[in-house]
């Protein structure tokens, strides 16, 4: 659409010139135009069969308990629900989230992921998200002790109760929260596993947090 408008404007400019001219003049115009870039993105929790904490022999290793997914975890939706976890032990949640990006930006994009808040309980007390919940690219070889990167609590403003509707940023999210970069356009996907390392001093409670993914074109 923009291309057609630009071409029409050029044609009009050239066609109109003789009417105003004292002598016939011809010319040519070279137009460089930009196509408006777009970035579309979606995130799918529990995006593949076999998702969750079940079946990973290193989950809670040493705790003497058998991990199981929480009831709110369902394929292609729901929550990333680790179920019951024993403090002081590590857990891996496979296929936690898949980020799908569709963009025409030839320079690609950057994906950020941050916690809208710290971990919060039903009674509104909190516990640090940093160094408790981690992410790593999905891979069949991941274990509860694979190297991972901690999620950060955002410096932006959560939207809705506890950030249920996302985060508002004054600028871009922190560069420390980059989880994926791409230098190409197209429809691309990246899956992520989550790791949970609840400190032995954490309170005994239910904890929740919203992880917000933000995709920005380069």
């Amino acid at each position: 659409m923009i291309r057609r408008l630009a071409a029409a404007a050029a044609a009009l400019a050239l066609a109109g010139t003789p009417l105003l001219a004292r002598a016939a003049t011809v010319g040519s115009a070279q137009l460089d135009y930009k196509v408006l870039p777009y970035v579309h993105a979606s995130v799918t929790p529990n995006y593949a069969s076999g998702f969750g904490v079940a079946g990973i022999s290193t989950n809670g290793l040493g705790s003497g308990t058998t991990p199981a997914n929480g009831s709110t975890a369902v394929l292609d939706g729901g929550q990333v629900d680790f179920g019951n976890v024993v403090v002081g032990y590590n857990y891996l949640y496979k296929y936690a989230a898949q980020v799908n990006v569709n963009t025409n930006d030839p320079s690609g994009f950057i994906v950020y992921a941050e916690g809208a808040t710290d971990l919060f309980t039903p009674s509104a007390s909190t516990s640090p998200l940093f160094q408790t919940l981690f992410w790593l690219p999905s891979s069949s070889g991941n274990t509860a002790f694979s190297s991972a990167t901690s999620f950060n609590k955002t410096a932006g403003t959560p939207i809705g109760v506890n950030g249920v509707n996302g985060i508002t940023y004054g600028g871009a999210p922190s560069s420390a929260s980059v989880v994926w970069t791409s230098g190409a356009s197209g429809s691309l996907s990246q899956g992520f596993d989550y790791e949970l390392r609840p400190n032995g001093s954490m309170a005994i409670s239910q904890f929740n947090v919203y992880i917000v993914y933000t995709v920005i074109g380069n």
Binding site: L31, A41, G62, S147, T214
Partner: protein, 262 residues
């Protein structure tokens, strides 16, 4: 008579064997274990400062902003737009977005991913507690030698004589664990020293560190205590970063085991 004597001898042999093996069995059993994971973030040395010179793209943007708007050809064009040779209209790069100037970037923010878990108490907390120090388990490192005072606080207790052992998780004499704990026979680049907790402030650097055991079980003894003794110790860490290691994040996973007498 001879038959009776043989039976008595056989009984003695069996008793001796039982005594010997039952003593061996009584030595140790693993009561509980804890696995701790550190992420060491190795950063390169900072680049030397060159003062407050503006970045090239900033200078380019400034030059464009200061460029004269009406040169001679422009003035001629204003007086007589159709004079002179035939011209080709062309908007060159100067009409593009100047380098260093940001335009609004497109972005998208899908619905957040809700995460939930329910914590449960550690049933073995009365016997073995491993608590990261105030810096947590994500530690920064530079090239050379790095010390981390009281990176872990470990509390142990049991009703019989016990010992605390450690080794690099996943190590053995045949696997391929990489930096920093490596794998036998390579010496671990991560070493530890145990001290009583709390440590004095400022805490002196221990004179002796021991590289983490990287041959798997049975590992090495961190400390041994008598029955019913509650002991809390600090684990100092020392990480050596050779220049051959690229900047990045490296995991070190350590397994602690409480070996108790049964």
């Amino acid at each position: 008579m001879r038959h009776t004597r043989n039976l008595a001898l056989l009984a003695l042999v069996v008793l001796a064997a039982l005594a010997a093996f039952s003593q061996a069995d009584a030595v140790q059993a693993t009561k509980t274990s804890k696995i701790v994971e550190f992420e060491f973030v190795i950063t390169p040395s900072p680049a030397p400062s060159v003062g407050a010179l503006p970045a090239p793209q900033v200078k380019a943007a400034a030059a464009i902003a200061a460029a004269p708007r009406t040169d001679a050809s422009t003035r001629t064009l204003l007086v007589d737009p159709f004079a002179g040779p035939r011209q080709v209209a062309w908007g060159g790069p100067s009409w593009d977005v100047a380098p260093g100037i940001q335009i609004a970037q497109v972005q998208a923010q899908p619905s957040p991913v809700p995460v939930q878990f329910v914590t449960k108490a550690d049933p073995n907390a009365q016997y073995l507690q491993v608590t990261p120090g105030s810096a947590g388990t994500i530690l920064t490192a530079v090239y050379g030698t790095n010390y981390y005072a009281c990176a872990l606080t470990i509390k142990t207790y049991y009703t019989t004589a016990y010992g605390l052992t450690d080794w690099g998780y996943g190590t053995s004499t045949s696997s391929a664990i990489g930096y920093p704990i490596e794998n036998y026979p390579t010496t671990s680049y991560l070493a530890w020293a145990a001290e009583a907790s709390p440590e004095p402030v400022p805490e002196p650097t221990p004179a002796t560190f021991t590289g983490f055991y990287n041959e798997g079980s049975p590992g090495q003894t961190v400390w041994s205590k008598a029955a019913n003794v509650t002991y809390t110790g600090c684990i100092d860490l020392r990480l050596t970063v050779p220049t051959a290691v690229a900047p990045g994040t490296y995991s070190a996973v350590i397994e602690y085991n409480l070996q108790v007498t049964i």
